[in-house]
Symmetry: D2
Subunit: 154 residues, 4 copies
């Protein structure tokens, strides 16, 4: 029997501030250290920082790209999934993950939080959208990953 | 030369309260009276009420369905677009419309508002999500449609 | 009750020969004359020629575009559906139509014929792919449309 | 720098004959032995057999699922990508792979071969569709994988 690894999404903006980049990298590192797989949208900003953290800690990184070319992926993506479906790929990231950690983020992140709610995926939030929705807030990278794993029963 | 008609989306919940259903039907009627095409997600609730209003006023109604069967469409849809891509079809509704009117709504509507912002489509809001986003709020159906048409320069 | 119009897809290449363009335009015209709606991929070649035929005969033309901009549609499209999902939109054209007429065509058309078979949509073929599949072949535009309507019980 | 692994798709029918199942399993095993990643549609038949071969040989298996639930994946999938976009996911499998090996197969496989041609991905064929297309035919699993790797310059 194939014991599947937990898949955690990190969602967040393409143009985050310096603090969010640091946190995203820490979150990625913690995900890898816990033996989970990281999934992101594969591009820059928070996505790249989390990928860097996970990849450098020996974890595996999936990037679900909006465009048509695997070369669009940031350099820390191990497995680029080339969707070619643009921002509609936000639905795939959120259907695929067991849980999501939102860091900072603009409207793309908002659409992903909304999809997580539709698909009943827990969302941990760090300096992200304030919504009338059950986002579990924290300020700490390690705690965010612990909360995520706890939420999915891992 | 083909002078294309304006396409206005009505986005909103599948389980609205009675007031939202009334407003959605009025909005649909006003869209038809102005000669614009209505596009919705093709299903029930706000989508069905707006479709009823537009269809009965002689307008044309496009329903962009999540599922695999045109029979899923509410009975006021003239043209069912059968996507088979689930909630990712929210990206298509918002890419296709010139402007969107959000009425009530839950997480599906939230994802559509987010997509509108990504694609730079104006959003008129009636009793919908309160967000840190440029949603133009009103309480009146006729005004919502006038604002929508004004925003797209029609 | 809303008596929905039959929707016929015309699928075919972006770079057809002169003969295929003529036939596609005739097919479009016949579809409009029979009161059916034409759906195509919205771009050039066979898609544009069929759209021209239908539009000039007073019919309605839906273009299911691969890209992000309604301006990509050929000038005879009345309703551009802006998918932003690239060639995956071939699945939507074929799910949406009641029947398809394939004229000439390259690999995009081949993918659409395959989808029609998966979704149990009848395919009428004019100078198109020869496959181990139940494509109903003809050389005549009028006959193609008559066969299409007959197949869907219209 | 992240040296990305080659990703090979195995495409084929959900209801193959016994011979095709054996070959698919051998192909999966060879892919793993060469250090490449296997990508399939994640379901049964040829997809499952190839996944079994690769997984049991210590390789990694990605399953790009049409539905909404990672439990739909066959038991040898290591990373289920849950698309929720139905058969339109055939476009994602083929955009993502570097090369595809087609074994047996019905209309779903035909759509995938068509997409490979659109996206300029080499296709190796074993007892699959005979088409006017540059499919490289072989009868041997090991040779199929060698040809695939050779085609992508690995």
């Amino acid at each position: 029997m194939n014991k599947r690894k937990i898949i955690i999404a990190v969602i967040g903006g393409a143009q985050p501030d310096k603090k969010s980049i640091e946190i995203a990298e820490q979150v990625g590192r913690c995900i890898a250290q816990k033996g989970a797989i990281l999934i992101t949208g594969g591009m820059g900003g928070v996505m790249r920082a989390a990928s860097k953290g996970a990849h450098e800690a020996g974890g595996q990184v999936i990037g679900v790209l909006p465009g048509n070319n695997n070369k669009d992926a940031n350099e820390y993506v191990d497995i680029p999934i080339v969707t070619g479906i643009g921002e509609a790929r936000n639905s795939i990231i959120t259907r695929t993950c067991d849980c999501a950690i939102a860091i900072d983020g603009s409207y793309g992140t908002l659409s992903e939080i909304a999809y997580c709610m539709i698909y009943h995926k827990p969302v941990i939030g760090i300096n992200t959208w304030k919504l009338d929705a059950p986002i579990i807030e924290t300020q700490n990278a390690q705690e965010a990953v612990d909360l995520a794993l706890n939420k999915v029963g891992a």
